[in-house]
């Protein structure tokens, strides 16, 4: 129980520092957006690239 509570507190602290913090969230949002675009574009290229071929 104590360990679980400590883990929950750590998760809350991480969430507060990375999401609720305005400055950190601004950068994290940009990072997630760029990383998502990169991964999604590779996925599209490998799976649906043939549709864009001529």
């Amino acid at each position: 129980m104590a360990a679980a509570a400590a883990a929950v507190e750590k998760v809350k602290a991480l969430w507060d520092s990375q999401v609720n913090d305005e400055e950190a969230w601004a950068f994290n949002y940009k990072l997630m957006k760029a990383g998502g675009l990169f991964v999604a574009s590779i996925f599209v290229m490998r799976n649906f690239g043939d549709l864009m071929a001529i």
Binding site: F27, K33, L37, I42, M45, A53, I54
Partner: protein, 337 residues
């Protein structure tokens, strides 16, 4: 009678022996023939599967590790009018004239974009020989660009880049020594302001190559080290670059067909906390080439090169930056090769 019987006895054994020996010999031959092709096939399969690590291909230069991605994602976008004319005087010597009229973006502290109308004329002279290339450019604003590429030996190449300006302390020069080995490349750079750099790239497998670079800026008392790797096959190229300056760069290019290539890259700068990702395409059609991209910052760009005639190309360039409300459009022509 006894002698007759003794004379009859010897013949049977020698005749029996040859008969006995013939079948095993024939069977032996028959047994040898079938395994040969099987063995050869197995050998071929093994050759296909086995990698000859002593005969790896030569990797691409370290500075060109992302060349496929750059071709698609970083076209030569411009704004305004652009006209390039190249006249060949003979097989090796040619002159070029370039005119540019457009707006130049001035960096400003505010979010608004400030542009200043500008124009310049550029005169160039080119000397191209299989072993020596000389390129010079002079602009009306007083800048001079010069490039030299000389093959000292079959494997050693010297490159010189220089940019001279009338402003004091703004001229730059760079010497590059490129050495090409059987399965590796090495480069040493010397520049002004006490700049020294070196890089080395090695093929690890027929598809994978890894490299490292180091540089030193004497006047700024800075040094850095970088690492790069590249994996390429017939259809795809993937690269990874990491540097101690805080830069992480990933790129991926997929060749969909002979005419279409798709590319994507991811750039992260820890010092400026800037991160950008972009996706681009490159269509090589019969009479034109169309390249475009969009990135995570809301920038959409396209670049079109159309061949109107032999040696005459029509250029269209467009770039829209939605976040900064910066819109650029350019058109131009290229005459001559």
């Amino acid at each position: 009678m006894g002698s007759a019987a003794s004379a009859a006895a010897p013949p049977p054994p020698p005749t029996a022996q040859p008969h006995m020996a013939a079948p095993p010999y024939g069977a032996g031959l028959a047994g040898i023939l079938p395994p040969k092709p099987d063995g050869e096939e197995e050998g071929k399969k093994k050759e296909v599967e086995k990698v000859d690590y002593l005969n790896l291909p030569c990797p691409v230069p370290f500075e060109e590790i992302q060349r496929e991605a750059l071709m698609s994602l970083k076209p030569e976008l411009f704004e305004g009018l652009r006209f390039d004319f190249t006249k060949g005087l003979n097989q090796k010597f040619s002159l070029s004239h370039s005119v540019f009229m457009g707006s130049l973006e001035v960096p400003s502290q505010s979010t608004e974009t400030i542009k200043v109308p500008t124009s310049h004329y550029e005169f160039g002279a080119n000397f191209i020989d299989p072993k020596l290339i000389l390129v010079g450019r002079v602009m009306t604003d007083g800048r001079l660009n010069a490039r030299v590429k000389c093959d000292l030996t079959d494997d050693l190449t010297l490159k010189i880049n220089a940019q001279l300006t009338h402003e004091p302390h703004y001229s730059q020069g760079m010497f590059n020594f490129d050495y090409k080995g059987t399965d590796y490349r090495a480069q040493f750079q010397i520049g002004n302001n006490a700049f020294y750099g070196a890089n080395y790239i090695q093929s690890v497998t027929p598809n994978l190559s890894m490299g490292t670079e180091i540089f030193w800026l004497g006047h700024q008392r800075k040094s850095g080290i970088g690492f790069a790797s590249r994996y390429n096959s017939d259809k795809m190229v993937g690269t990874l670059q990491v540097a101690s300056t805080g830069i992480v760069a990933l790129s991926y290019v997929q060749k969909v067909s002979e005419k279409v290539s798709l590319a994507s890259d991811f750039m992260y700068n820890h010092m400026s906390r800037d991160v950008t990702s972009s996706f681009g395409y490159d269509y090589m059609l019969r009479q034109c080439r169309l390249r475009g991209k969009f990135d995570s910052n809301g920038v959409v760009a396209a670049y079109l090169e159309e061949r109107l005639n032999m040696g005459v190309n029509f250029l269209l360039s467009a770039e829209i930056d939605h976040s900064k409300k910066n819109y650029k459009f350019g058109f131009g022509m290229t005459v001559g090769e």
